[in-house]
Symmetry: C2
Subunit: 563 residues, 2 copies
């Protein structure tokens, strides 16, 4: 006799609780109205001083100390596992928890190092967290669908094999929204993930479990996926560094996904980390593994050190950036604008040029993306949930009311669907705009004075810092780059400071979304939340984008040091 979806969920939740080591439970969990929980991991008494040192270290420091044998893989794994369990109790960020298995693996790596006198690989002993959809043999990948509970992966995905061959230690998977197609994180199996800086706010999505986990340093490096901002939005909202690579640079084969067969705007995997060195080491080591030999969608393109040295960007001296202050869809909130201004000042002080970037057809591109996904999203969700009849979420709002519900664009669960011909017309228009945009970028050469077009675009990640649950209605600042397939890094710039980030007088609104967003802002509601930017390069410019993000980050750090 088949179980109801509620019974399946109850069983799955029990199994999840059982997978949590009891010694690491908070004796005195903070009340629900404690909103900023970022200090609790270090104050709750569960972590030793050494474990705090380890978990606060950057990926570069971790790998150095692991390689030197200063820190064992076992103690590093233990430290991050403990902090991950703390983070989970504060934000509900985990799905699959397999710490015993990880500690066994860590012991083997320590043994390998002892026996062979060298590391197993360039990621030797580094704990890496994975978004729930990434498949590990013997574990579930429910993606928040009750209907997928009990489907155990029969093999590792290509990325999992690759990371293990590089010496990484996998230990937890992280929460996502049901369907993956929301910029928040909530589902009927694991529930809602909270933002560690403000638990009344979303951690973003769809890689929102990674956002909260890494934001609390329960993981030094995680893998998210991004079809419209799903790596970048949670990274922005939780203060991380991250990269949305171009299609086909990181192997995707062997994982589960939504909208399978949608071949036009491809979801990509990419790194999320506490530091840019985490982003870089992930890309360099994964891309170095020739995964095109195992995943047919991976581009045969090795890591290019010359591009990382900015060979195509004048060696990185006197770069010319261009800033998107407003994409013409939704006007950014005051702290976002301040973050861009800080970035501009920092870059000018570092000797670079900064122009304004006038967005070209961003609204049309955003609508194209929603048109392509919406062509069959509702039918896709219906097919997946048919086995149990679980409800399909059409909003992330905890208390949806008809009024605000209507302002939400990302409602892919109840679209009408298209014919293949209608879909082709949207995809055709997308291709035309990609050509126009590239030409438009090339044409900036007349304004830069560098002899090159603009080197990178700087943009908000969203029009706002993390909004209250259910209020993240759009993904326009990120989705356009998925449509164009441009590589985009995210880095934190500042935090919301109510005394500086006062509300502005109302502007002439683009539409009701823009009005809604304007009215959403209230400095105290966003206080202390991270403010981030994107650094955007062209297709396949991952190496250069990482290098330029390092330059922007260094300029911002130098500016802070001067103040």
């Amino acid at each position: 006799m088949a179980n109801t979806w509620q019974q399946l969920v109850a069983d799955k939740r029990n199994r999840q609780v059982a997978s949590i080591p009891k010694d690491w439970l908070l004796e005195d969990p903070p009340a629900a109205d404690v909103l900023d929980v970022t200090r609790i991991p270090e104050t709750c008494g569960i972590l030793t001083a050494q474990e705090i040192r380890i978990t606060n270290a950057s990926v570069g420091t971790l790998l150095q100390n692991l390689s030197a044998g200063e820190w064992s893989a076992f103690e590093v794994t233990t430290a991050f596992a403990k902090r991950a369990i703390i983070a989970h109790q504060l934000t509900n960020c985990l799905t699959e928890i397999f710490i015993d298995r990880a500690l066994e693996r860590a012991k083997e790596l320590d043994e390998y190092r002892r026996t062979h006198g060298k590391v197993f690989g360039p990621l030797h002993g580094l704990p890496i967290s994975l978004k729930d959809q990434i498949c590990i043999k013997g574990l579930e990948a429910t993606m928040g669908y009750a209907s997928w509970i009990g489907r155990y992966s029969t093999s590792n995905s290509v990325l999992v094999d690759t990371l293990e061959s590089l010496g990484a230690v996998l230990y937890v998977k992280t929460n996502i929204p049901q369907t993956l197609m929301f910029a928040e994180t909530n589902n009927l199996v694991f529930g809602r993930t909270l933002n560690p800086y403000n638990r009344s706010a979303t951690s973003g999505g769809s890689s929102g479990g990674e956002g909260a986990l890494i934001g609390l340093k329960g993981s030094p490096l995680g893998v998210g996926s991004d079809i419209g901002g799903s790596i970048r939005i949670p990274s922005g909202f939780c203060g991380l560094y991250a990269l949305r690579p171009s299609y086909g640079r990181v192997p995707y084969a062997g994982n589960v996904n939504s909208l399978e067969g949608e071949d036009s705007i491809l979801s990509v995997l990419g790194p999320m980390s506490n530091s840019l060195d985490g982003v870089k080491v992930f890309m360099k080591s994964v891309v170095g593994q020739k995964t095109w030999e195992r995943d047919p969608l991976v581009t045969r393109m090795p890591w290019d050190e010359a591009e990382y040295s900015l060979a195509s960007h004048g060696g990185g001296r006197n770069l010319c950036f261009a800033i998107i202050w407003d994409d013409g869809i939704v006007v950014p909130h005051p702290p976002i604008t301040r973050g861009l201004e800080m970035t501009k000042r920092a870059l000018l002080a570092a000797g670079h040029k900064v122009l304004d970037w006038k967005p070209l057809k961003h609204k049309e591109m955003y609508d194209i993306a929603l048109g392509i996904w919406g062509a069959a999203s509702a039918e896709d969700y219906k097919a997946v949930t048919a086995t149990t009849g679980e409800p399909v979420l059409t909003t992330m709002d905890p208390e949806p009311d008809q009024d605000t519900y209507n302002t939400q664009r990302l409602r892919l669960g109840d679209t009408k669907g298209s014919t293949a011909y209608e879909l082709w017309q949207v995809q055709r228009r997308k291709r035309e705009i990609r050509e126009e945009y590239l030409q438009y970028w090339n044409d900036t050469i007349i304004n830069t004075g560098t002899g090159r077009p603009v080197d990178a675009i700087i943009s908000p990640v969203a029009a706002y810092a993390a909004p209250p649950h259910g209020q993240n209605r759009d993904a326009n600042y990120t989705t356009v780059w998925n449509v164009l397939d441009y590589s985009a890094a995210v880095l934190p710039v500042t935090k919301v400071i109510p005394s500086l980030d006062v509300q502005r007088p109302a502007h002439k609104f683009y539409d009701h979304h823009d009005r809604y967003n304007y009215e959403l802002y209230n400095p105290s509601k966003f206080a202390g939340e991270p403010v981030a930017i994107q650094v955007i390069g062209r297709t396949h410019e991952e190496e250069a984008v990482i290098a330029m993000a390092e330059i922007v980050d260094a300029a911002l750090q130098a500016q802070k040091a001067r103040l």
Copy 2:
């Protein structure tokens, strides 16, 4: 008052006739029942001895003599233009003819060389023919649609600009089937292209104008496009060398096409030539131009000389090939099998290994391709032809009868169409098979004895040499590689020799297509026609595939020299 489509066609044909230089008209054109016209260009008296020398030269020799100033761009262009006009009178292979413009350009190149003492670029003075869909500013690109007559391209496509920047001379465009989605060449504007080896047979398609033109050496190098075999089939039927590159290696932007917005199996451009050096020089020089800076779909992947040196294939010594003798869909005719046997003997004699390749799910892949194209092909054609109401061709048969009509798979003009969701399910299955096929290929490592998987697959181009007009009903031997996005070269092996290629006893037929194909064979009907093979590598292995095709070709030449 709008013209009827018939009026538009009549006007267009008149303009085409007017574009043909009158001095180059055949005084005594062969009667329709003269089938093999391959010797006529050299015997008709229009070409001088020097022009015959020039037009018979390989691309390598042409470039060498042009570079050394032995031959001027003007005389080379004149020679090929004349031979192209002869070829057109024999096979009806041209669409746009712009020889005056080409001769002007050739003069400029000669002048440049005189003034600067060096060539303009690596393709200095080389005439290159282009499939009709490739757009040149100021010329039409009707693609055989009456509805597109009078639409003059407002700019050059990226490839046209690229070829001109390399020093090429463009002089003619070539015929295609209406819709491009047939493996023969016929349309209501320009009519039918004939095979130069047997004018009662098809030149193949959809790049069938290129096939006939280059087959008669009216062009040393042409550009075709290939979504299911459209470069390879006419190359095979007309005795050419050619390459179907992976998606995104040759710029496509700025040309016209069918099925616009179909983003799953992408049409690609590629070279067709009388020699492999033509194929190589095209790829090396075009790929070297960083066209990703102008076409967003071009992969940022420079020409890789190490891959051309077969760095990933043991340096090219002791290669292991695997032959597809029968794809399980349609059993090849006797001359095709003999071509494969010749290739096997030649490779063994050259010290390479040769295994058998058991096709994996080729029938399913072929059906997937037809499912993806057919999802909206009929609606696409209807939309294009709506302005004039011209008929949409659903067969290439000059005298279609219901009976044989039913055996034709490639009938994309009257499909029912799909929903986007149905299309996604087909595309999803395609992705799964691509993963399976790559694994399947990797697993051959246990049989090769080289420490590598099979280096390249060798396959027929079609189950037959050029069939009578209207009888080329399938493209199964080529389409599977488009589905997998594998790079595939074509080279000629032998010709049909009735005394050797006798009909076999009937086998157990796979289905009525296979039976139809068996019954189609009759040695005398195919006598003297070229027999070709494909050499197939993996995605993005263009450099290695060219190098391996050179190895196969050299082995075959050595074998012929021994006999």
